[in-house]
Symmetry: C2
Subunit: 212 residues, 2 copies
């Protein structure tokens, strides 16, 4: 928290709102906001109830702060999609702005979790971005079969030490349902454990990219 406050101050932040769990969930609290379909896939598959907690607390924060806009990172693409769906479905008057993933110089997507990686794991963590680059290249070279790409990525990522794959999916970026054939715009999303640390990364794949 202290580190985050220091960073926020450096960026010119005027106010930090950081309520306690008891303030947010007092005795008798029993309400929830749930997005039913797009929470079933990707991270939602293994993390039961996770997105219900996210949408409930974000709905509360929106009602307390009444912001004109709110920013969410593209790295957690599903979270962004779920929040976007909530805002649209429940008519919340808030503009959701998606922030592109920021990467370390070697390509690793920045995350508060990266600090848990030891030196060897840090090297293996690069397999996610390497997989993304290879997938983009395969699509550019004409591959449109999702399973062919996913198989190649699994092989690549598992060739690194300490890696285990939770999921690698190619899906529709709106419904998050798997797509067998890459068409206009598809999401490649993955969750990989490196040692004990769960990392996620994603990118958009476009079949049209091969014409560039």
């Amino acid at each position: 928290m202290e580190g985050d406050i220091a960073k926020a101050e450096k960026e010119g932040v005027d106010i930090i709102f950081s309520p306690s769990p008891l303030e947010m969930y007092p005795d008798g609290f029993q309400s929830s906001v749930k997005i039913k379909e797009i929470t079933r896939y990707l991270c939602g598959k293994s993390r039961s109830g996770h997105f219900e907690g996210v949408t409930t607390v974000v709905a509360k924060l929106f009602n307390i702060i009444k912001p004109h806009f709110a920013l969410f990172g593209q790295k957690d693409f599903q979270q962004l999609a779920v929040i976007g769906r909530m805002v649209k479905d429940l008519n919340m008057d808030i503009q959701i702005i998606d922030v592109p993933t920021v990467r370390e110089p070697d390509g690793l997507a920045m995350s508060s979790r990266n600090k848990y990686l030891n030196e060897e794991e840090r090297k293996s963590a690069l397999s996610l971005k390497e997989g993304i680059d290879i997938a983009v290249k395969m699509v550019q070279d004409g591959e449109i079969n999702s399973q062919v790409i996913i198989s190649a990525l699994k092989k690549l990522i598992l060739s690194y030490s300490f890696t285990s794959i939770e999921y690698i999916n190619i899906c529709d970026p709106l419904t998050l349902e798997d797509t067998d054939i890459i068409k206009e715009k598809n999401l490649l999303a993955m969750a990989v454990k490196v040692g004990d640390t769960r990392l996620i990364d994603n990118c958009l794949l476009r079949a049209g990219d091969r014409d560039k």
Copy 2:
């Protein structure tokens, strides 16, 4: 709808917001607001999913209209409690105002459903208010055992023609959980079918009333 518009105009209403189902639930809609505990009792017991639909649409209407206050009738006490819980739990900046039940001269609680009652059923519909009056009298006379009161009411209401009881409960007005002994403030709530028409009514019982 025409009748409602005429009534609203007569009362000086400037704007009626009446969206179509498709405007409210467009293709892809998949979000819901759920109040988990107090929706389990009373009407929620037999009407599965009913309150989830109510809270979802009311949350949407609140976000669209952004009212300073909203009025709900005490006749549907549970709906009032559920909306109040949602507003509190999700930090909605809206004041909920509860409107006392309005009754016909003979005591029947006003409801859009009363028009479905035929002449004979209309007479039997008075059993709800008669039950309430008797319960209040019993508590005034010193009765504090909920089951004794409920049994008396069941007997009374079933002595009328065309009546069947869905529930008669005495419960905590905040949690809606049954209370065996009447203490400070308790809710007496009932749902009774008269012919094919489901009627509800309720009142607050106070053990202290017997001192008056």
